[in-house]
Structure formats: structure tokens, C-alpha cells
């Protein structure tokens, strides 16, 4: 029995259907990310769970309780916002204590809980400060402490990292994940950043046009995208045009080269299909276990430190490929001809 169940959820604003037949079951303690481009409906789903939007139809159950018709302040959920949303007139400690005070928790217990929360976010000294005296990262951590203090059933994160700079974003997301694991709190995280979603989620829901395109673990989503949208949106992708030779045994042809895919192809013989390949599945030069070797011309070289991303023209398409940096092998020069090897089993057929 799942802890949070969203069934057949629909939301329309006027004639525009923002969320279409959205279904999701979240287990207790699970960290779920809603990932998608802006306007895909992910925030609307989150706001319906929070109670800030009323669904047009469908139901939301938390811990067996039907909450669809419940007001936001009666749902016992914690929420973090992109704009921090700390109360500017209250100190950090009073901000964290707000939910407890509303609940009518006694002074001694409240103070103990606030101290515990501030210790949890690693800011035990800052209780007397005002929000404007804190950095963005600190403010967002206080917002997390404030959301967690009243022991909510579900934690909702609405792009909480988007307003922060890159370094703080990475450290704070790890911190949020660590605290979430420690408390075992069921969490829904909305983001448009695929790296963020991949790195901290138990499962990801990739959304597009109000529809959940695919639900799965980060590994699943990245390696076995079920739709072309998911494949394109999550990670970088190289797309090859191939012609089907023998559908049943998965033999296709790219240019002049025939190869055998991992699975049978569902298209008839002679049909053109699209095959996708992650940059890390391509290798510069020949390599063991990569039976397909194609000629290519190097077009761009981006040295990123541990990884070198090379763009090359291979078999009529421009592809990106990643190689690890090695101190004894300098990256290829732009304009040189090179061999690119790959394994046909790594191809992801795109529907």
C-alpha cells in the first residue's frame, strides 16, 4: 500500500488542460522528482498535492486519508519554495517555530524542536538573525527547517535550488537528500534540471504537456527512455537514422554498416527508424567490445576537466561523444579524421 497516491488527476485552467490523467504512487520515505520543461504541469501537480490548487477531477490520498477536498492548512505537509518565502519580520528561530506555534505546541517543546531543527541544517548559531542577514543558501536551509519542524507527512519542494548559485545548489541538494534519508520523510521534488533529478531521486517522473511520460529510477530513465521526449530531455543524445534489415533479429543498417541491436525491432523490413546513443557509449578510436567502427571528422573539442566532450561528424550525423581525460593522451585536433567505435547493443530505439 503506497503512502501517497495520486489517481486520475486532472487540472484545467479555462480551456487549457494543464495536467492530464496523472497517476502516481509514492512509498513512505521515497524521494520522487517531477522533471520536465517549464509549463509541463509539474508545479501544478505539486500545488494540487499541497492544496493550493483544486483539481478539476481525480483524487489525492495521503496515508490512506482522502485530502483532495482538504484546505492547504489542514493537510500537514511541509513545503519549500523557490523564493525561500521566509517571513521577513521574524527571526530564524521564530520562522522555524511558526508551524509549531500555529499547532499550539508548548514553549519548552517548541524551543527544543527549533534547536533540533537548526542543528539538523547546520546553523545552530543563527537563531536570532533575521532572514535578510543570511545568504540565499542559508535562507533556503532555514526554509527546510521551518517546513520540517511541525513533522509533516509529506515534504514538497518547488524548485528550491533554482535561485541559488551553482556551487551552493550542489551542496544543498546533497544536504536535502541526506536530511530526507535521515528523517525518512516522503518527498516530492519539482525541478527542470535533469542532473538534479538524476542525482538525488529514488524515482523520477518525466512530464511533458501535462502527461507523465515515464516513471522510473534514474538509471532506468537514463538508460531505457521509453519515449523520444524522455530520451531527449534527460541527458545528451545522438540520433542516427537506420534502415531495418531483419526485424525479428534486430539487424539494421546505418549507412553501409549492418549491425545487430540488443532487441528485435518492431518496424517492418526496409523502414527507417531512429536510434539514439548516449555520448559515453561512443569511443574515439577502436576499443574492445565495440564491434562497430565508423569514420568521423572531429568538429569541436570541449575540454571540461575530467571529461572531454568531442563533437564529430559520423555517418552523416553530428554526434557528441565523451572520453575521460588521460594525462598521456591529448584530445584530438579539430578537423582531423578519426575512427569512432560503438557497440550496437547500446543503441536506444526511439518510438
Amino acid at each position: 500500500m503506497s503512502f501517497l497516491t495520486i489517481a486520475n488527476l486532472e487540472k484545467s485552467f479555462g480551456t487549457i488542460r494543464v495536467v492530464k490523467d496523472f497517476n502516481l504512487s509514492v512509498d513512505k520515505g521515497e524521494f520522487i522528482s517531477l522533471l520536465g520543461p517549464s509549463g509541463c504541469g509539474k508545479t501544478t501537480v505539486l500545488r494540487m498535492v499541497a492544496g493550493f490548487e483544486v483539481p478539476t477531477s481525480g483524487s489525492i490520498r495521503i496515508d490512506g486519508q482522502e485530502v483532495t477536498g482538504l484546505r492547504a492548512n489542514a493537510r500537514n505537509i511541509g513545503m519549500m519554495f523557490q523564493a525561500y518565502a521566509l517571513f521577513p519580520n521574524l527571526t530564524v528561530a521564530d520562522n522555524v517555530a511558526f508551524g509549531l506555534r500555529v499547532k499550539g505546541v508548548g514553549r519548552a517543546e517548541r524551543e527544543a524542536r527549533v534547536a533540533e531543527m537548526l542543528a539538523l541544517i547546520g546553523l545552530p548559531e543563527l537563531g536570532a538573525r533575521y532572514p535578510f542577514q543570511l545568504s540565499g543558501g542559508q535562507q533556503q536551509r532555514v526554509a527546510l527547517a521551518r517546513a520540517l519542524a511541525p513533522r509533516p507527512r509529506v515534504l514538497l519542494l518547488d524548485e528550491p535550488l533554482s535561485a541559488l548559485d551553482a556551487k551552493v545548489r550542489v551542496s544543498l541538494r546533497n544536504e536535502i537528500r541526506a536530511i530526507q534519508r535521515e528523517l525518512g520523510i516522503t518527498t516530492i521534488f519539482v525541478t527542470h534540471d535533469q542532473e538534479e533529478a538524476l542525482s538525488i531521486s529514488d524515482r523520477i517522473v518525466v512530464m511533458n504537456g501535462g502527461i507523465a511520460e515515464q516513471v522510473g529510477t534514474p538509471f532506468d530513465i537514463y538508460n531505457h527512455p521509453r519515449t523520444r521526449f524522455v530520451a531527449n530531455f534527460v541527458g545528451t543524445l545522438n540520433t542516427f537514422e537506420a534502415v531495418v534489415e531483419v526485424p525479428a533479429s534486430g539487424i539494421v543498417r546505418i549507412g553501409e554498416q549492418a549491425m545487430r541491436l540488443a532487441e528485435p525491432v518492431e518496424a517492418p523490413r526496409g523502414a527507417a527508424i531512429a536510434l539514439a546513443l548516449r555520448p559515453e557509449a561512443l569511443r574515439l578510436g577502436r576499443a574492445e567490445g565495440r564491434e562497430v567502427v565508423l569514420e568521423g571528422t572531429v568538429r569541436e573539442v570541449h575540454f571540461l576537466g575530467s571529461v572531454i566532450r568531442v563533437t564529430a561528424d559520423v555517418a552523416g550525423t553530428r554526434v557528441a561523444l565523451d572520453t575521460f581525460n588521460r594525462a598521456d593522451t591529448p584530445p584530438p585536433a579539430v578537423g582531423t579524421t578519426t575512427e569512432v567505435s560503438l557497440s550496437a547493443r547500446d543503441f536506444i530505439p526511439l518510438a
Partner: protein, 261 residues
């Protein structure tokens, strides 16, 4: 060159506004022949009616502020949060008191609430005070609404409301613990403007025949020579004192410092 010109214009402006005030203040000190004295002020302060009318107006100002805050803060908040499309309309309504003369309002009141009407408010002193307070609140509405609305603009009303809701707060808690404290400076500046308006208002108090400060000033002005300018100086002092208080309050509130005042 432009700098000197700017200073010149500034000084001209200062003289334009300050000279009449100086002349008035100087005249108020001349009650005793051939020497400066505070005699005019002494006469004013010794007059029992001064204190009675001043206290009465102050009390009504207090009630007007209460009515204004209770009426305007939730309204401005609600319009910002839920009815942004109604903003032009609400702004128009709050501006009406600037266009409709007080005398029209007060005649309307007298017609609607006279002793032979369905709600004879003018029949008792308390009822009339209530009417007068409502009238003052109407007159102060444009200033109060604008002050509060500007205050609300500096905070993210929507997100703060949602944050409070997610923490279990209901509407009353949100109003009292989140919205009001964050617009307190704006509310206070609205309150001081209201105070200044009520202290000087003449028409409504006179036509409703209540012993307010405005009619008293008029009475003195019509009958005495040196006391009116003394009263005017006192009235100016009150107004400027209010403005000073406005500044002081916004300086003293801690979390406001972040906004770089």
C-alpha cells in the same frame, strides 16, 4: 553651472514655502506690544475648549485609524492575492473621496441617517460620532489604501501566504502574524496621514455639529487676531511631528533595514 542653478532653484523653493510660515510664526509671537512673547500660545493653551476639542479630535482620529486599518489591510491584501483584475476598480473607488467633496458626503449622511430616517444615527452623540468616524475613514481612504498597497508590494504576498498555509495557518493567523507585521510601517504612515487629516478636518465636524478641533480653529480664526497664527503653528508642529514619527518608526523596525533605507 547646472549645480549652482539647481541650488538656486532649490533655495527659491525653500523661500517660497518658508517665508509665509516665518511671517506667520513671527506674527504669532507679537501679541505683547514691542516685544516677542508666547502670550498668544498661553491664551490658546489656557482655553479649555482647545484641550476639549483637541482631545476629541485625537480620539476620533484613533478610531478612524482603527476602522481604516481593519477595512483597508484585508481588502488590499485580498485584491493583491486573489483579485488582481479588480485592482483598477478598487483603486478608482479609493480615489473617489478626492473627487467627491466632504460636504456632499456629509449631506448624504444627514439625509440618510437623520432622526426621522430608518437609522437615526444623528439622534445621539454616539451615533453622530460613529458617522463622523466613518466620514473621516472615507476621507483618509486614498492615503491609507495607497500606503498599505505600497507596503504589500514590497513583500511576496502570494508565496508568504502559501508558506503560512502549508505550516497550518488559517486566514486570521496569516493576517495578524504574517501580513500585518510586514506592512506595519506602511500602515503607520497611513495612520499618521489619517491623523493629520482628521485633526484639521472642518466641514464634516461642523455640519454634524461636533466639538472637533477644526471648527474650533475656525472659530478662533474668525474672532481673534494673534491666536489663529499660534494655532496654525501648533497644527504645523503636529503634522511635522507625525512625519518625523513616520521616519522614526521605519528606521526602528529591524527587518526593514534590509531594504536599504
Amino acid at each position: 553651472m547646472t549645480r549652482w542653478l539647481a541650488w538656486g532653484v532649490f533655495l527659491m523653493g525653500c523661500l517660497y514655502f518658508l517665508l509665509p510660515l516665518l511671517g506667520m510664526a513671527e506674527f504669532s509671537l507679537r501679541m505683547r506690544r514691542d516685544e516677542y512673547s508666547f502670550d498668544a500660545y498661553r491664551v490658546v493653551f489656557a482655553d479649555g475648549r482647545f484641550w476639549a476639542t483637541f482631545g476629541y479630535s485625537l480620539m476620533l482620529a484613533g478610531w478612524t485609524i482603527v476602522v481604516g486599518v481593519v477595512l483597508v489591510v484585508p481588502t488590499a491584501y485580498w485584491v493583491r492575492l486573489k483579485l488582481p483584475q479588480a485592482r483598477p476598480f478598487v483603486e478608482f473607488v479609493t480615489l473617489l473621496p478626492l473627487v467627491i467633496p466632504a460636504i456632499v458626503i456629509v449631506f448624504g449622511y444627514i439625509r440618510l441617517y437623520n432622526t426621522s430616517s430608518f437609522l437615526p444615527l444623528t439622534g445621539s452623540a454616539l451615533g453622530t460620532d460613529f458617522l463622523l468616524t466613518m466620514g473621516y475613514a472615507t476621507l483618509a481612504l486614498p492615503y491609507m489604501y495607497r500606503a498599505v498597497d505600497t507596503g504589500l508590494r514590497t513583500i511576496d504576498v502570494g508565496t508568504l501566504t502559501e508558506a503560512a498555509q502549508s505550516l497550518g495557518a488559517g486566514w486570521i493567523t496569516i493576517m495578524l502574524r504574517v501580513i500585518l507585521p510586514n506592512v506595519l510601517v506602511a500602515v503607520l504612515s497611513g495612520a499618521f496621514l489619517t491623523l493629520a487629516i482628521v485633526m484639521g478636518e472642518f466641514t464634516m465636524a461642523a455640519l454634524l455639529n461636533r466639538p472637533a478641533f477644526g471648527p474650533f480653529m475656525q472659530l478662533i480664526g474668525a474672532n481673534r487676531a494673534y491666536e489663529p497664527p499660534a494655532l496654525a503653528v501648533i497644527a504645523f508642529a503636529i503634522t511635522w511631528g507625525c512625519m518625523g514619527l513616520m521616519q522614526l518608526v521605519s528606521r526602528l523596525s529591524k527587518h526593514e533595514r534590509a531594504r536599504g533605507r
